[in-house]
């Protein structure tokens, strides 16, 4: 992929090309949504061609995205007002309804071949939730799942949104975890089409946390959880 290790990037980042189903992890810092999407799709082609899995960690400038099940009425302000604020709206090929990305939110894009794990979309969504649950536990945040509502919650507030795409069993899109996100931005939408309040690590803890620490932990949990369920195919 285009990005390589930068100054201030992840410790233990793996960028080597590999043939043994090892992960390639890249920290994209803050990246335009469409650019990140293009890189994901290139990685999907790579995995379909036999490359090992990728894990991309990043933040996006403010952007509203509409999944395949999105209703435009779930954007609560006018197109003109959004334009004035410089917030684009992007319709994309993931599941779910409307969501918002902004700096301070960790976005996690695992690109992996579910044929090497389990050909089961529900299983994959559960594992993504587990990555976030274990990560937030490291910050002493007790989370829960709500039956029938994919995502991760702190009591009745949502802290993690999930929406994925799968092409020939290779995954793209992923998780959005509110770390230090400016929560008032969520007033612009009805997140996931639900009447819910969003929360963040910063709000729960009362102080911002270091995104680089979060990324390191996220990398660890992601590789652990997907290592446990995977096997190599020769």
């Amino acid at each position: 992929m285009g990005a390589s290790r930068r100054e201030g990037g992840l410790c233990g980042i793996m960028t080597e090309k590999n043939r043994d189903n090892q992960w390639t992890v890249e920290d994209w810092d803050v990246i335009d949504y469409n650019e990140a999407y293009a890189r994901q799709k290139a990685a999907v082609q790579g995995v379909l061609s036999g490359h090992g899995p990728y894990l991309f960690l990043c933040e996006h400038p403010p952007v509203i995205t509409l999944g395949r099940l999105a209703e435009s009425r779930h954007i609560l302000i006018s197109a003109d007002a959004l334009k004035q604020r410089g917030i684009p709206v992007v319709a994309i090929d993931r599941g779910g309804d409307v969501t918002l990305h902004a700096p301070g939110q960790l976005v996690v894009y695992p690109i992996l071949n579910l044929k090497n794990y389990r050909r089961d979309l529900r299983w994959y969504l559960d594992k993504l939730e587990q990555v976030a649950i274990d990560l937030l536990k490291d910050f002493d945040i007790l989370t829960c799942r709500l039956p029938g509502r994919t995502g991760v919650w702190v009591e009745s507030k949502k802290i993690v949104s999930i929406g994925v795409g799968v092409k020939q069993w290779v995954t793209f899109h992923g998780l959005a975890i509110n770390i230090n996100t400016a929560l008032p931005l969520f007033n612009l939408i009805k997140p996931c089409g639900l009447d819910v309040l969003m929360t963040s690590v910063q709000q729960v803890q009362g102080a911002a946390v270091d995104m680089l620490d979060v990324k390191r932990l996220c990398q660890r949990h992601c590789l652990r959880i997907f290592a446990a369920g995977g096997h190599r195919i020769s």
Binding site: R68, L69, D93, G95, L121
Partner: protein, 78 residues
């Protein structure tokens, strides 16, 4: 050759057509994206799996399709 909705996982018995990448009459190859299905938080792109011409599609965008039900028919190219 009929392309059917494959098993998508435990407890998933159907999916909704989200987007057709092809239309009747289009030539396709084994890796051509045929149709994108959606189930709650996941989209699932189904390839043509063979070379040929799309002869028929059996479900419109927004329609729900059961696992195992046909999505499209591809006339194979010799």
């Amino acid at each position: 050759m009929k392309i059917v909705l494959p098993q998508l996982g435990e407890g998933i018995d159907r999916a909704e057509v989200a987007f057709w990448h092809v239309k009747v009459g289009d030539a396709v190859g084994p890796h051509t994206d045929l149709v994108e299905m959606v189930t709650d938080k996941a989209t699932f792109i189904i390839p043509a799996d063979c070379a040929g011409v799309v002869k028929n599609v059996y479900a419109r965008v927004g329609e729900s399709v059961l696992v195992g039900a046909p999505l499209a028919q591809i006339e194979l190219v010799e």
